[in-house]
């Protein structure tokens, strides 16, 4: 069975500092990986996704993530955060034949401090 672990429930960081939000997954098959952002009172919005090819994936709003198969990780990074990046971030995985499920992590709340 597939699973996703987001170990950090909350990450406070000062404005203009770099940030990394961690995501680890478990799966016995090839996977597709996603990062979504959820702003207060809004729906989830896709930041970026890894399907295949280059392990470094660039997304919207200056975010990027690196797929590491040996460590089964897909950590999200941004070199310099803004106040407006304050939101909840979710990692998700899907993959394998015969399944339509997307498995989401429990989320990481990013709080950017002035």
């Amino acid at each position: 069975a597939q699973s996703v672990t987001q170990l950090d429930s909350q990450v406070p960081v000062f404005e203009e500092a770099p940030v990394e939000l961690r995501c680890n997954y478990s799966s016995s098959v090839s996977v597709y990986l996603f990062w979504y952002v959820q702003y207060p009172n809004q729906g989830l919005q896709l930041l970026l996704k890894y399907l295949s090819g280059s392990t470094l994936v660039k997304g919207i709003n200056g975010f990027e993530a690196e797929f590491n198969k040996s460590q089964t990780s897909f950590h999200l990074r941004k070199p310099s955060v803004h106040i407006s990046d304050t939101a909840e971030y979710f990692c998700a995985v899907t993959g394998g034949s015969g399944t339509y499920k997307y498995i989401f992590g429990t989320g990481t709340r990013l709080k950017v401090l002035a």
Partner: protein, 115 residues
């Protein structure tokens, strides 16, 4: 163009009442998902439709939960005899094709509170 819409946005139900939650996906989108998001948790898969066919309902918590998409567009999630543990945000998402790598577009959710 219009995104995924859900109605109502908020619903308060007394324990034992039946509720119906509506999802209007993006026009032409083949795939439709329902998720349940409890407070402080990530979305949990409930069910998946490809056009009007419900191909996976393994995430539905009990037989009180029922979903349909009779014409392959609008979908309704029905919860019978609601219980307090059903309180959550119910999210709907759609995507253009059945390709697993395709982007899902989420609606704003329906916040259900069962008293």
């Amino acid at each position: 163009g219009a995104g995924v819409s859900q109605s109502p946005r908020y619903k308060v139900a007394k324990r034992g009442q039946d509720v119906a939650l509506r999802c209007d996906p993006i026009s032409g989108h083949v795939s439709l998902f329902w998720y349940q998001q409890a407070l402080g948790q990530g979305p949990e898969f409930l069910t998946y439709f490809q056009n009007e066919a419900q191909l996976d309902k393994s995430g539905l918590p009990s037989d009180r939960f029922f979903a349909e998409r009779p014409e392959g567009s609008v979908s309704t999630l029905k919860i019978q005899r609601t219980q307090q543990e059903d309180s959550a945000v119910y999210l709907c998402a759609s995507k253009k094709s059945r390709d697993r790598g395709e982007t899902q577009y989420f609606g704003p959710g329906t916040r259900l509170l069962v008293l």
